[in-house]
Amino acid sequence: MTQQDSKTHIVVGVLSVQGSFREHLDHLNVLFTDLNSAPEYSHYQFSARKVKQPKDLDGLSGIILVGGESTTMSLLLQHSGLFGPLAQLIQSGKVGVWGTCAGLILIANQVTNTKVDLGDCKFKVLGGLDVSIERNSFGRQVDSFTQVLSFQESSVRSFECVFIRAPVVTGILSEKPSVGTKSSVVAEVFEANNHSVEVLSEVEKDGKTLIVAVRQGHILGTSFHPELVQDYRFHKWFVDEFVLKRSIDA
């Protein structure tokens, strides 16, 4: 057996339907070039993969759902047949999952302040996180902002966070949400997430405290865009904490 064969292959997928997937892939590729030559990661061989259709999900250890327009992504996922298998994988707990901005909307079990009916289609979310997310919470583009934040339970300190028409976590769901309303949707839950939701970071806006980063077991959600800054610490933390730890447990 060669040295190469003894390594555990870690493949992190990036949902590449629309939005900032190129940015996330670039971040992973830079990070993985480092890790693949780092002695402390010598047991692993890392690579990143575009995820566009169901077969791209095979063999993943982690998946990132990127920033973009959540309605566009939801429709394209439904049309391409990726929606069902992706929802199953996210909720299964078998892979580390990270949603940024629109990606966070897509992995929530409840979304408010949203369109529900889209012509012959519905706005549907994949689910996985027991939280309620409000879309465009901070207002429109002129209200977009950047802020330096640190994160509970993580080594990431003083990270520049870019919020663009960002959603926030408005509630942690203690029980299964009721059915959707005119302006809210509820995800179909196949498998319950048995971990509790931890708040990793909050911001103060107009006298209100808003949750902008959460974790529930294998799932990480952030309302800002670590893929837009030249800083790879957040991606590294995701790989260390959500992808590798799980692959060891499994």
Partner: protein
């Protein structure tokens, strides 16, 4: 302006990547666009083909119409101002639109200066038909570039020409100036740098920045002007664009809802001919269109701006 301000402006453009932005003139059209999967809509009173037909001075649209579209959809809303019309831009910023298009489709307001876009919190997209124009707009603070194409014609040839021109000019810069990365004093490299700086009317630093960035523009680049079919949209994507604007093409066709969806699918699957084909069945009549080659120079919108 500080870097983080630019970052969140350019960042919104990055979120629109691999998406379709559609021209809409009413709330009903905006809803059709959103339902089809548009990543944003451009709210305007008359689509370019009507501006072309009806003539007269084309200005910023009625703020009431723009506001009603902003209220109706959850996706970003863009609106157009005349080239150089700082006050129209200030009004749109006050209205709260998500993106301003400083557009050659409207009548030019200032024949010498474009809007100083760095002064604004709201991001701008600007048209370009060559690399010089793209770089000058970026220096002024544009957060997104689109090709000018020839709006309102349904003829994609001008957009393709602009995409290819920008590409080949970047290749030319890279071929002649990359040497400066290793040897900043290389004589021939410096001579070419000076030449490009004069040709494109930007500083040598701006050109060097492009070289350092491996020939990639620092902002997102969309295709626009004359895109009328799913195949047109996919062709622009194939040539390296980050996404497409569709103006008159959708709502001047016989089945806008279906065509809008098909164009979204084609941009998503631009590398897969079978998928583009599948999306292109039974779309009805596309917009009638006008051949760009039959237009007189003064009838072209793309010659507006500099």
């Amino acid at each position: 302006m500080c870097a983080s301000d630019f970052q969140k402006k350019a960042g919104l453009a990055q979120m629109l990547k691999q998406g379709v932005i559609m021209d809409v003139t009413t709330v009903e059209e905006a809803l059709i666009a959103e339902e089809a999967g548009a990543v944003a809509v451009m709210a305007l009173e008359r689509v370019p083909s009507d501006i072309r037909k009806e003539g007269g001075v084309a200005r910023m649209s009625d703020p009431h119409m723009i506001r009603s579209i902003m209220d109706a959809v959850s996706i970003p809303v863009m609106a157009k101002v005349r080239i150089g019309h700082t006050v129209e831009a200030e009004m749109l910023e006050a209205l709260g639109v998500d993106f301003i298009d400083e557009s050659e489709v409207l009548t030019v307001a200032d024949r010498k200066y474009h809007v100083d876009k760095d002064d604004f919190k709201v991001p701008f997209v600007c048209g370009a038909k060559d690399l010089g124009e793209a770089l000058r707009r970026i220096v002024e603070g544009a957060a997104m570039i689109r090709t000018k194409g020839e709006a309102g014609t349904g003829d994609v040839s001008e957009a393709i020409h602009h995409i290819r021109k920008i590409r080949s000019e970047i290749d030319d810069v890279m071929a002649n100036c990359s040497v400066l990365l290793e040897n900043p004093n290389d004589k021939s490299g410096l001579q070419h740098l000076k030449g490009f700086s004069e040709k494109f009317r930007v500083s040598e630093d701006t050109i060097l920045e492009l070289v350092r960035n491996a020939g990639k523009l620092p902002v997102v680049n969309f295709a626009a002007g004359g895109i009328a079919t799913p195949a047109d949209a996919a062709l622009c994507m194939r040539l390296g664009c980050d996404g497409v604007f569709v103006g008159s093409g959708i709502f001047k066709s016989s089945n806008p809802a279906k065509l809008a969806k098909a164009i979204v699918e084609a941009v998503h699957w631009y590398l897969e001919p079978e998928q583009i084909l599948k999306a292109s069945f039974d779309l009805g009549e596309p917009m009638r269109g006008i051949q760009v080659s039959g237009l007189k120079e003064e009838e072209k919108l793309s010659v507006r701006g500099w």
